[in-house]
């Protein structure tokens, strides 16, 4: 029996739960003996010219090794484009928390004392806090660029008269608010320059991408940089590659020809690490009273924060996925990505796709409300039919496989939709203070968007018959070691416990892409599968020579890991024997797997929320989902991804928001103020099964890392609005905090 699809418990956990992981700041290795500790001096103002830096007093403090500023950075390392980001601020700061100077101390604790002694003179400039301010362009962040717009795009149908034939058109501007990734392990980096080579230990999702960036920015040859990712305590997209602060630490080691280490504080993390989302969306939806939607326009203003890292790219993904699971011929989308004097925005779980789903699902609900039809019925009437795949959307995506109607039907049946509506009606009739709301979302998302880049794997059979996998995919909580070992066992019959998985070291794995966009299993896993297949083919040749039999007569007994002449156990060879027969070249395969196109996981979520109409507090009481990501290699890992994803989606709908005051000061820079969700705030999720394999990789798998977030956010938001719809509420922007809900109820009452 194949091990694939079975509930194998994570092999990573015994170590993590007993002795604990070894994260960058835990590293106690000789290479980092005597490393100095880095502390950033960060801008306390959102927008200002730097008119002077006096670090003399700090330099005199005992324990201070150096205070570094932009003046110490070589001209060649300075940004070459108008909106490009420097390492340390040059002449101007553009967000609170922007690195201005770096203090190096020879102990852990003096850094903050020294930082207090560095006197930076700021001449205030007008802050640009909102995207509306950015578009007004009264103040430019980068005068040389002549604009605050960092990128624009359009897709799909542009003709405005496609709304002309609609019986009903609804338009609304909504907010997909800025949120913080909050990985449990904050950013941390250690770097050492030695013997003409820079070694960087980074908390990253992509060691190879980090190496390439470091080499490019510091003007070093790639071979002169080694990046190692030890255990990484969560990334959620915010640890893709290497960011500016970590890069500055690597530069400091190079500049001082020494060893430097840095771990940020939680408050630095909340204002200095990238944020996610940050879109203002105008949705316009039109159709007929029979429920058929024929036109949809999504217009996005993407907040990039102070420097356009991947903000414009995120909005292009939103644009690509604008029509969601619906067959809307007249779908168009456009975006403007703008800079503001706030923390930069980049990828965060879903990265552009949750924003698309939230918009179209909100639009569907508004349209349903306008024509007085059950929102589920409106969805049913517009889903892309199962026989239409592969399906090309108006904005240019080609969905591989799907069965959206089935996912919706499964969720409705699993949740007992009709009973929930009856309970809602009963409570409304009784005039209960606590009302119930039901939110349904249907979603499709794009995973492995860069399928053509693929992923690498090298698989080597060691002399004792065990296997070592060198994977380009980088694990930071997903369970790669478990899943990859399962793939090897399934293909070669080498038991999981004899498979070692190595990742995140550019010397061991020079070429790779790494982890983001739910690409790991379908590219990295498929690469492991491909390498194992090649090893099996090679092993068959070797075994045939050793046994002196024809290859065609040989079989691999995958239950026991023996090669033998079919049906003749007396000829059995172990993997160790076959490996020994491979000679000097060894028995291994080194591959890159690429897929012809991305995959499009899909599903449906139903959230049940109770809202206390006197206080406005909403509580998620049930969450039922179908998340179809094709074939499931390990249900335990897949469910873990769904649980975490749902939690983060529900959190954005109900609780989480990064806020700045009118001057651009962060108001959510501690975990007391930033309402990161916790377990007691959530119910146990009800996960239903559905498997629609893809044909674009041999495993039939799609990505599942972000699906939960994408489906949950609109379902929960919709449920809150639905709970108070009978009071006249038609929309509540996220997060639906008690105060927002209370205000919406009040407004609706006042309007009646």
């Amino acid at each position: 029996m194949s091990i694939l699809g079975t509930r194998v418990v994570r092999t990573e956990d015994p170590r993590l739960l007993t002795v604990g992981g070894v994260y960058v700041d835990d590293l106690a290795i000789p290479e980092l003996d005597g490393a100095v500790r880095a502390t950033f001096i960060r801008s306390p103002v959102a927008h200002a010219a730097i008119t002077g830096i006096d670090a003399d007093a700090a330099r005199r403090l005992p324990g201070v090794v150096a205070v570094l500023t932009a003046a110490d950075i070589a001209e060649a390392m300075r940004p070459d484009k108008p909106m490009a980001e420097p390492l340390l601020a040059i002449d101007r700061v553009r967000y609170v928390g922007e690195p201005v100077a770096l203090v190096l101390t020879d102990g852990t604790c003096q850094g903050e004392d020294a930082a207090e002694l560095v006197a930076v003179e700021y001449e205030p400039l007008a802050p640009v806090v909102t995207v509306a301010d950015a578009l007004l362009a009264k103040t430019l962040l980068f005068p040389a660029a002549g604009t605050n717009i960092a990128g624009t795009g359009t897709a799909g149908r542009a003709d405005p008269d496609r709304f002309g034939g609609c019986e009903v058109v609804v338009e609304r501007t909504i907010v997909n608010q800025r949120v913080a990734p909050v990985p449990l392990e904050v950013r941390a980096t250690a770097a050492r320059w030695s013997d003409g080579r820079l070694t960087v230990w980074a908390s990253t999702q992509n060691a190879q991408l980090a190496r390439d960036t470091i080499a490019r920015r510091l003007g070093l040859d790639k071979s002169a940089v080694r990046v190692i990712a030890p255990d990484v305590g969560g990334g959620f997209g915010a640890k893709v590659g290497i960011d500016r602060d970590a890069l500055t630490v690597a530069w400091a080691a190079y500049h001082t020809r020494g060893s430097v280490r840095w771990a940020e504080t939680r408050s630095e993390n909340l204002s200095g690490m990238v944020h996610g989302r940050g879109q203002r969306q105008t949705i316009r939806i039109g159709g007929h009273r029979d429920g058929r939607v024929i036109a949809y326009q999504l217009s996005i203003v993407q907040d990039c924060g102070a420097y356009p890292r991947s903000g414009a790219f995120l909005a292009s993904l939103t644009q690509l996925m604008a029509s969601g699971v619906y067959d809307i011929p007249g779908c168009g989308a456009d975006y403007q990505a703008v800079v503001t004097t706030t923390t930069p925005i980049a990828a965060y779980r879903g990265a552009g796709r949750p924003e698309a789903t939230a918009a179209i699902e909100r639009a569907m609900d508004l349209f349903a409300g306008q024509i007085g039809m059950d929102p589920v019925e409106v969805r049913r009437r517009n889903l892309v039919p199962a026989q239409a795949f592969p399906y090309r959307t108006a904005t240019g995506a080609v969905y591989d496989t799907g069965d959206y109607a089935s996912a919706l039907a499964t969720v409705l049946a699993g949740a007992g939709y009709e009973d929930l509506r009856a309970e809602q009606a009963r409570r409304r009739e009784r005039g209960d203070v606590v009302c119930v709301g039901i939110g349904v979302s249907c979603y499709v998302e794009i995973t492995a968007a860069d399928a053509a880049s693929g992923e690498t794997a090298r698989l080597a059979i060691d002399g004792d018959g065990s296997a070592t996998v060198y994977t380009g995919s980088s694990a930071h909580g997903q369970g790669h070691a478990t899943a990859w070992a399962m793939l090897v066992q399934d293909e070669l019959g080498i038991p999981m416990e004899r498979v070692t998985v190595i990742h995140g070291d550019t010397d061991a794995i020079p070429e790779a892409v790494g982890t983001y966009g739910s690409r790991s299993l379908q590219l990295g896993g498929a690469a492991v599968h491909k390498a194992a297949s090649q090893v099996r083919d090679k092993a068959r040749q070797i075994a045939a020579q050793l046994i002196e039999a024809s290859e065609a007569d040989l079989e691999l007994d995958r239950d026991h890991g023996f090669w033998q002449v079919r049906g003749d156990p007396t000829t059995a060879l172990t993997w160790a024997q076959v490996a020994a027969g491979a000679g000097e070249d060894g028995l291994e395969a080194d591959v890159r797997f690429t897929a012809p196109q991305p995959t499009f996981p899909f599903g449906a979520h139903l959230a049940v929320v109770e809202v206390d109409t006197e206080t406005g507090k909403a509580r998620l009481v049930r969450h039922v989902t179908v998340d179809d990501a094709g074939v499931i290699v390990n249900p335990v890992l897949a469910e873990g991804q769904r649980h975490g994803g749902i939690a983060q989606g529900a959190a954005q709908a109900l609780l989480e928001e990064v806020r700045f005051d009118a001057d651009g000061n962060p108001q959510t820079a501690t975990l007391a103020d930033y309402a990161a969700v916790t377990a007691p705030d959530l119910p146990s999720f009800e996960l239903l099964d559905s498997v629609t394999p893809t044909t674009v990789n041999p495993l039939g798998v799609k990505g599942i890392g972000e699906a939960g977030t994408i489906g949950a956010m609109p379902a929960v938001q919709s449920a809150v609005i639905d709970a108070v719809a009978h009071l006249g509420v038609t929309h509540i922007d996220m997060p639906a905090t008690p105060q927002h809900v209370w205000a919406a109820i009040n407004e609706a009452r006042a309007a009646r």
Partner: protein, 272 residues
């Protein structure tokens, strides 16, 4: 996240703690469970020069039946209050509210005396001791004195304790009216209250509705004048000037106070 330098001293007895405080002067702070003070120090919002650690004075951690009243040592941890059988039967309001403080980690470190002496209007237990009309016992260089709960909270993070004076005990008489309620309204399970209400009989106190924890005087007067609980509750925000922050406007807090006092009075009556 790293505090400014300070001198750490650990006291072995209450007398020793008082002596250390007298030596150290105005810039000394007592450190009990540390769950209010240390976060402020890490943010460098509090910069004491001397910390006098009284956390190991187990002589000051107890819940005792003294006949006329229950005596609670100031260094009793929230978890021990929440699980005290004596409190559960005699002062269930305090036991229940102590179980609502922070999260399990906070409740296993934080102490009732530390919470009260910190004087945070957003904390849970100050309002509870107001509703219980408790008496606080303080020891200082000049000896021991009793302070009525109603006189204890004097401003934002300001109490009636003189410099160097140490809160040692909280005394709670058996409530005249058995009905009680504690309403803590939060965004998340582990947050500070956006608004909270403690009610013991017809004595009502509010969390996070001004610069100090406070009695809902207008509500108590309305009840005394014979108004029904729901009418009395409509006066919950009278005379309050609640803070504005990212969680609530002042108007929303005042609305919540009215709703929560109504619920607290109803529950207290149902239990009475």
């Amino acid at each position: 996240m790293i505090p400014a330098p300070f001198t750490y001293r650990r006291a072995g007895t209450v007398a020793e703690a008082l002596e250390m405080a007298a030596e150290s002067g105005e810039d000394a702070k007592y450190l009990a469970g540390g769950h209010s003070l240390l976060p402020l120090m890490k943010l460098r919002l509090a910069v004491p020069e001397v910390l006098i650690d009284i956390g190991r004075l187990r002589e000051a951690a107890y819940v005792r039946d003294e006949g006329g009243h229950i005596a609670i040592g100031a260094l009793t941890r929230h978890h021990d209050l929440a699980t005290s059988g004596l409190l559960a039967s005699r002062v269930p309001l305090l036991a229940y509210a102590a179980g609502c403080v922070g999260d399990p980690q906070v409740r296993h470190r934080g102490t009732i005396g530390g919470s009260l002496a910190h004087g945070d209007p957003a904390a849970d237990l100050p309002a509870v001791i107001l509703a219980l009309d408790a008496t606080l016992v303080a020891q200082g260089p000049g000896g021991t004195r009793e302070i009525a709960a109603a006189d204890f909270f004097q401003g934002l993070y300001e109490t009636a304790l003189a410099p160097g004076e140490l809160l040692t005990e909280i005394r709670v008489k058996r409530p005249e009216s058995a009905g009680w309620s504690f309403q803590k309204f939060t965004k998340r399970a582990i947050d500070w209250a956006i608004v909270g209400v403690a009610a013991q009989g017809d004595r009502v106190a509010l969390v996070n509705m001004g610069m100090t924890p406070m009695r809902a005087v207008a509500v108590e007067q309305a009840l005394a004048a014979g108004l029904a609980p729901e009418q009395a509750a409509s006066h919950a925000a009278d005379g309050t000037s609640p803070p504005e922050d990212i969680n609530a406007t002042a108007a929303y807090r005042q609305h919540l106070a009215r709703v929560l006092v109504g619920r607290a009075l109803a529950q207290a009556r149902a239990r009475g």
